[in-house]
């Protein structure tokens, strides 16, 4: 017959199974981050190629495709190894559904590359297709962060996700700025997009900073300075302040692209550091949980061999005072009291863990609210994603409120919005 201790051991085994799953998800996040970086490079080189009518970046793009394909292979084999037959944690459904979307996108890559090679598409269209796949990949990382059940691991995942998302905004900023300079005249629509990307990037990096380890922060502080960044900031200023339809120096297109690329590569080193921290933390947590389980199993063996030591009487008068203050008692009774303390400590720990998790996830909830509000605006007002985001931002600025608060208001109004027909 199962005892209370058996259920404590079962609780510990559940935690271990969870940590094991989390370690696998973290490894997947790591592979995803590498692949996204290669895709970002491929997107950039494809743009150079298309914008130059096939003159520039021909061999660089060719070499990059091999790197991208190697990273894709690594991701695919990671996904292939996931256990899709048996049944695991609650977040499985959401994670798998995100992966399904990514698989569909991976299958479309060859067609995209052909369209670029034959220059059937322009840079904007190619960028949009690459960006869609990268967004799908980031959604996988988001789910991983949102479903982690260990607060410290969740913290690192939230930090990493926000860094990756910020890096992707940088990647899209590179494309947008390059297009602006290449056109030789300021296009107000692209300028708006650029401002939006710079702002979103800053917000992501703030959250990253809040949750990152001191080591990672130090590494980031190192990367987030230097002459390259100064040049970049100067060009950003030009792009942000030039009036609509005023001339831009087309010769800046390439230096802009190179400065942005340098920054993306620097970000990749910070990203890799975070991914390593994450894997190390997962390993440490698994070792600790295994040791805790072993201690419970030893206690179980002792009690099974000497059943006279077990008693449950302490439960009846569960003390409000801790064990240290209890008067000395016979051994059986002491063990009983120790067991009760163990149970209470465990319950307390799990409560603390779930409170910490809530805190960490709050930052993800903001993103969810904003995404949902955007989705609502897109559906009801037939807006593009960019326009929906702009509409939210306009409301926020107009009302002097935070974006997330405006998003909540929009969602609260969902019931009174007219249903879109046809």
């Amino acid at each position: 017959m199962k005892t209370g201790l058996n259920f404590l051991m079962a609780a510990k085994r559940s935690e271990m199974a969870d940590l094991h799953q989390l370690a696998r998800t973290s490894a997947l996040v790591n592979t995803t981050a590498s692949f996204i970086h290669q895709l970002q490079r491929e997107r950039g080189l494809s743009n150079l190629y298309l914008a130059s009518d096939g003159r520039d970046a021909v061999s660089a793009r060719h070499d990059q495709l091999a790197l991208s394909q190697a990273a894709e292979l690594a991701l695919r084999s990671g996904l292939e190894a996931l256990d899709t037959d048996t049944h695991r944690a609650a977040h499985g459904a959401r994670l798998f559904s995100r992966i399904a979307y990514v698989m569909h996108g991976l299958d479309a890559l060859p067609a995209l590359r052909d369209a670029v090679r034959q220059r059937q598409w322009d840079a904007e269209r190619s960028t949009a297709a690459y960006s869609r796949l990268i967004a799908g990949l980031l959604a996988v990382v988001f789910e991983a962060a949102d479903s982690a059940s260990d607060p410290d691991i969740s913290r690192l995942l939230v930090s990493l996700f926000n860094f990756m998302q910020g890096k992707e905004f940088m990647g899209r900023e590179r494309a947008t700025g390059a297009a602006l300079f290449a056109a030789g005249r300021l296009d107000a629509r692209l300028q708006q997009r650029l401002l939006h990307l710079i702002e979103s990037q800053a917000r992501c990096l703030e959250v990253f900073h809040d949750f990152a380890s001191p080591l990672v922060r130090a590494k980031w502080a190192e990367c987030d300075s230097g002459p390259a960044l100064t040049t970049l900031e100067r060009m950003r200023r030009v792009l942000s302040t030039t009036q609509d339809d005023s001339p831009l120096d087309t010769r800046w297109s390439r230096p802009w692209f190179d400065a942005c690329s340098e920054r993306l590569d620097a970000m990749r080193t910070v990203e890799a550091l975070q991914a390593n921290e994450l894997l190390a933390l997962c390993e440490g947590r698994q070792t600790a949980a295994a040791q805790e389980l072993a201690a419970l199993e030893r206690l179980d063996r002792t009690l099974t061999q000497t059943p006279c030591l077990t008693s449950s009487a302490a439960f009846l008068e569960a003390p409000d005072t801790p064990l240290a203050q209890a008067p000395s008692q016979p051994l059986g009774s002491q063990l009983d009291r120790a067991m009760l303390e163990l149970l209470q400590a465990q319950a307390q720990r799990l409560q603390t863990v779930s409170a910490e998790l809530e805190t960490v996830r709050a930052s993800l909830n903001e993103r969810k609210l904003i995404e949902r509000a955007k989705g609502l605006l897109m559906a009801h007002r037939q807006l593009s994603e960019d326009d929906a985001h702009r509409a939210l931002r306009r409301m926020a600025m107009g009302q002097g409120r935070r974006l997330v608060d405006v998003a909540e208001t929009v969602l609260a109004m969902a019931d009174v919005l007219p249903v879109r027909t046809g």
Copy 2:
């Protein structure tokens, strides 16, 4: 090699595994509710027996013990059947840890019954021991509600949990009122406790009402009226308004007890109705998910047999417009577009589900905050649970704020509270 569809099927399998687990947990909740009801009766009869110095309720208590033991056996075999070896969902650890506490309490029941039979304990001490075990059982139901991943099932579990908690406040109100009348003089401390129990009960029943089905609400409206309740309310008024140390009619002790018992039995019928609704809902959800999986599997077979139909090109230009508005296209391309819609619909559905879950769980979060604030006060000011709750209520009333807001403030101050030593 796995396809996007394979991962969609995996997502569906995860959902099914989750629903299966949820059905088992719901069955456990049902057994727990029956057992709690028998414990509440046993606690009441034990009080009558103790308060009458062993003259009253001798045979009724004897008969009740058999009923309690049968219900305990059913619960134990339900717990025994839980899979504690293999590794399941994230909430496993919390649920198992609550069950471990309950097991410890079940093992202490024989000692409690002996102490009552031999009248070594008074009614208050016996009530406290029974109430501690019932609180542990309710915590199991709370975890079940908090970990459910289906919003509709979660809604019923939240409704049922609040009803069960309200019923338990009623059970403790019965004991407190009986003690007040039996003493023949109004005891201000017991009166405070009574007021607290009535208020907590009302709050639980409000939440229950918000989340219950129309059928259950109608059944409850039927039970929540009638002459017995009028009598009960009259006696409540007497107990609430009598001044400290004023006389009370001891002859009202038994009618009070009987009126409360009648109400508890009526509540049990509403509880049983809810438990049945819950089991039926779990079954319906499982059937629906199985059908959805079967449909995906059929689609998978079709695509495997005719691979020429598959294409992923639609991903590259994922339309902001729905399928219906797309121009007619060759079959492969239509299927591709249909797949993309399937993927987007699935992602949308999971997002909606998780938003609804958040809403339902918000009501549980309030309870968690209050419990945590109470725990903090108990630890730092060495208060009993009753006193901690009273302290919170006093702050709330003094500041004209909601209990949950005061709890949040207390928790926010945790860092500045002195650490208790020794």
